[in-house]
Symmetry: C2
Subunit: 219 residues, 2 copies
């Protein structure tokens, strides 16, 4: 009888309720961990019944994977989509960085970037959850690498740069800014990442002459 | 009676046993989390009795703090002490980076750098454990900043560099190399960090001319 009731509620609540539950779950995961997620804990956080949540998700792994999908949807909406909607590749690289720092600093998740919080937790536990987080990280890095290659084709980044190397360096500054912000509530880390990224891309004020000198030096 | 027995064992096992237990605990913490540490789990991992461990540590927080001290001692021995024992400040910066990457890549801990694993787990949980991890991170960053300032005084790093900014950039590459290695078992991340750090320090082959041009451009 309980199960039947939950199923009726599930259908009438529909996708909006599912998304609200999963967003709560994603927020919870950045505090207590993705492996710390339990249907009991989520029931407490959302006021839903455990039986209702079981009927939605069935197992902890299904809940974890659905939570990652919801977090990825938020990340795409907050960071990737607005940054890559338009503009030259070089501008998109800058916008990806800016949107990432905004997403961290506006506390979309209480534990900072969802994926930065989840990665070190799942990376020692092989399985579908780790694979899904790894796929996100590979995709995020690939986004930078692809845009860097396009910016090189446009002549905005030196063609002798290795896109994977440059993508690594840009991403490293975003990642450490996230960590410092969550640990120390220190927003100056965002400025450090911005400054480092703009410097690395040769975008500081008056940098075009420097860039051409650097390019000459590399020959 | 059980407690008395453990106490006798504790005394006779002495510090060596304590250190062995805490090293096991630190390894366990990089897999299951510092917050996931339990006296029961540690008893299982070490073959010690729970009552013996209780007599050593008493509470979960005491165990966590003792585990962090043990991990810090390992970090100092593996990374900081050999890198800073001698040499010019610039060489010590390079050696700190090399020793860090060696410490990660030689799997001292199964989950990579102990502190990189622990930080995102504890950063949303105020308390003594978070404070201790934050103090480590501040000290690690401060080590770079101090060496950079000394390398500037020596004329090996441009005096117009902000040491905090440069320390942030170097540390970010080390940190992301750790994450990628643990997630993807990809050792090329170590080379990316090495290459990025040497580039940022102006240490690539033939870079001295480039450095002087850069310095000129900044004027």
């Amino acid at each position: 009888v309980t199960l039947d009731t939950s199923r009726r509620r599930t259908r009438s609540d529909g996708e909006r309720s599912r998304r609200a539950i999963l967003e709560a779950s994603a927020r919870l995961a950045t505090v207590d961990g993705l492996r710390g997620l339990t249907i009991g804990g989520l029931a407490e956080a959302t006021g839903m019944s455990k039986s209702g949540l079981y009927s939605h998700f069935g197992s902890k792994e299904v809940l974890q994977l659905a939570t990652i999908e919801a977090a990825d949807a938020i990340f795409q909406e907050e960071v990737v989509a607005p940054a890559t909607a338009s503009g030259e590749p070089m501008e998109q690289i800058v916008q990806l960085s800016e949107r990432y720092l905004d997403y961290v600093g506006s506390d979309v998740f209480p534990g900072g970037c969802f994926f930065a919080a989840a990665s070190p937790e799942v990376d020692t536990h092989p399985g579908r959850v780790k694979d899904r987080i790894a796929a996100f990280q590979a995709g995020w890095m690939g986004l930078f690498v692809g845009l860097i290659a396009r910016a090189q084709a446009n002549g905005d980044i030196d063609e002798r740069e290795d896109p994977t190397q440059l993508g690594f360096e840009l991403n490293s500054m975003l990642t450490l800014a996230n960590s410092i912000y969550v640990m120390f509530a220190d927003r100056s880390a965002f400025d450090r990442a911005r400054r480092g990224i703009r410097h690395r891309l040769g975008l500081e004020p008056g940098s075009s002459q420097r860039e051409s000198n650097r390019a000459r030096d590399r020959r």
